[in-house]
């Protein structure tokens, strides 16, 4: 976005040097364009679906009303808390396992050789296929949901951490060696900071996959949380109410991605802008 703003500012400067010299104005114009498009889309949806079967299709105004209702009776909030507590726990465990295993693989060739084929295979395969078998082992409750989230989220963290750890610039390792830094110092002050951006992008991928896992788990194991609301209201043909949890999931996924980005920026402030 930043880049396109610059590019259009440059192309504009030939004819209109004054307008181009104000990047704020440019940005406001672009924001307005986006909001306008959204309003237009919602309006088209509203009018096009007006005469459709209410059981099958919901219009934006119905969804807004349904969301408001579910907010007032507390259903949406309790489902969100239910989903999020499971998700956050699963995601945190997956992150810790992913970083620890990734570090071990990245720094120890033997560990890497042993684990690498399984991790790549599991990352590539559609893990949904494992869920029915998994339910035989861990049931359909909280434990099942956590396990599914971990399974979906852990591999991108491992793979990215390994990449980061293995890519550490030789120049930086030489500094540790020349000044006789201990192994621990090398891990903590050279390898870990170097690998951090890789880990962070692994976490971002894990976040998306974890949210998918959460919804899938709520669909397939014991029906609960936001996924449960979607299933239950769709089955009851209350389509507008089924949209409310979808909206929440979309907002949460985006908010969490921004959060991970902020954390990444906080730890990456040494990097050149």
């Amino acid at each position: 976005m930043q880049r396109s703003a610059q590019a259009s500012a440059v192309s504009k400067s030939a004819g209109e040097p004054e307008a181009a010299s104000d990047p704020n104005r440019q940005r406001r114009r672009e924001r307005l364009l986006q909001i306008g498009t959204l309003v237009l889309l919602l309006a088209v949806w509203e009018f096009a679906a007006r005469d459709a079967n209410k059981l099958l299709v919901a219009v934006p105004s119905d969804i807004a009303v349904a969301t408001w209702e579910l907010l007032l009776n507390g259903e949406l909030l309790s489902a969100t808390l239910d989903s999020m507590s499971t998700f956050v726990l699963g995601f945190v465990i997956a992150s810790i396992i992913g970083i620890v295993v990734g570090f071990a693989m990245g720094t120890n060739r033997t560990v890497e050789v042993i684990l690498d084929p399984y991790i790549n295979a599991l990352y590539a395969m559609p893990l949904v296929a494992l869920i029915p078998i998994l339910m035989l082992w861990v049931g359909i409750g909280f434990l099942a949901k956590i396990t599914i989230i971990i399974l979906f989220a852990v591999f991108p963290v491992i793979i990215n951490t390994v990449t980061g750890v293995k890519n550490v610039d030789r120049h930086y390792l030489d500094i540790g060696k020349a000044f006789m830094a201990s192994r621990f110092m090398v891990y903590r002050q050279i390898i870990a900071p170097y690998a951090l951006p890789y880990v962070a992008s692994g976490l971002r991928i894990a976040l998306g996959r974890g949210i998918i896992a959460m919804i899938v788990a709520e669909f397939l194991t014991s029906i609960s949380g936001l996924g449960g609301l979607i299933i239950n209201y769709t089955n009851a043909f209350e389509t507008a109410k089924a949209f409310a949890p979808v909206l929440v999931v979309a907002l949460l996924a985006n908010a969490l991605t921004v959060l991970v980005q902020k954390v990444e920026e906080r730890f990456g402030r040494w990097r050149r802008r």
Binding site: H171, Y172, I175, M185, Q189, W270
Partner: protein, 256 residues
Amino acid sequence: MPKLSVRNLTKRFPVSGGPSMTALDGVDLDVEEGEFIAFVGPSGCGKTTLLRIIQGLETATSGEIRIDGKPVTGPGHDRGFVFQQYGLLPWLTAAQNIGFALEAKGIPAARHGETTERVLATVGLKGFGDRFPHQLSGGMQQRVGIARALAIEPEIMLLDEPFGALDALTREILQNEMLGLTERMGKTILFVTHSVDEAVCLADRVVVMSPRPGRIREIVPIDIPRPRASLGEALRDTPEYVAKRHQLWTQLMDLV
């Protein structure tokens, strides 16, 4: 007894699918305490490899290195290394980069602040401790690298083309500061450079190396009296400077 002695040092690198490459072949060198030795030579002459082996960053294929008569087998706090580029950890501030070396030497954190401030002042960077490397110019980054090496109070300083990546003006300024610094401290210094001017300016002896395989071709003493720092620009007009610069140039031209 020399401060540092290098005996019959040989380094061969394996080359996949061919005979190994000899980077250093039978290098012998004695360095006295407080001496400033500069290494010059065409690329591929092994001068950086020699410095890295003395620091313990690489191991020799055969041969021996002794400091104060004791054999050297790896890195040590008795040697401080200054890298050409990428010598600072970019995620640490200048002070933290120096602190890294102090921590590695086992100096308690409580004493880091005082030492860091002192060495930063020595290289003219007082008050720049909390800057990240990318907030410093190339010349300032190299000063931090020198400050870090000074911080661990080594007996020998090893500098690998420390000013090689700098612009001409910054380079000359840092050369003059280096001259003042080394003449005040009297440390033993090994300095790799590709600049003949730099070598003649700074060194007591210039080691000329030849490539394929890396060998010492000649050791040229530079008899410009010290302290040279006070001479300023006039240093480069002294007959000894002009003569030695010419002599080294001619020798290097023959090698290329």
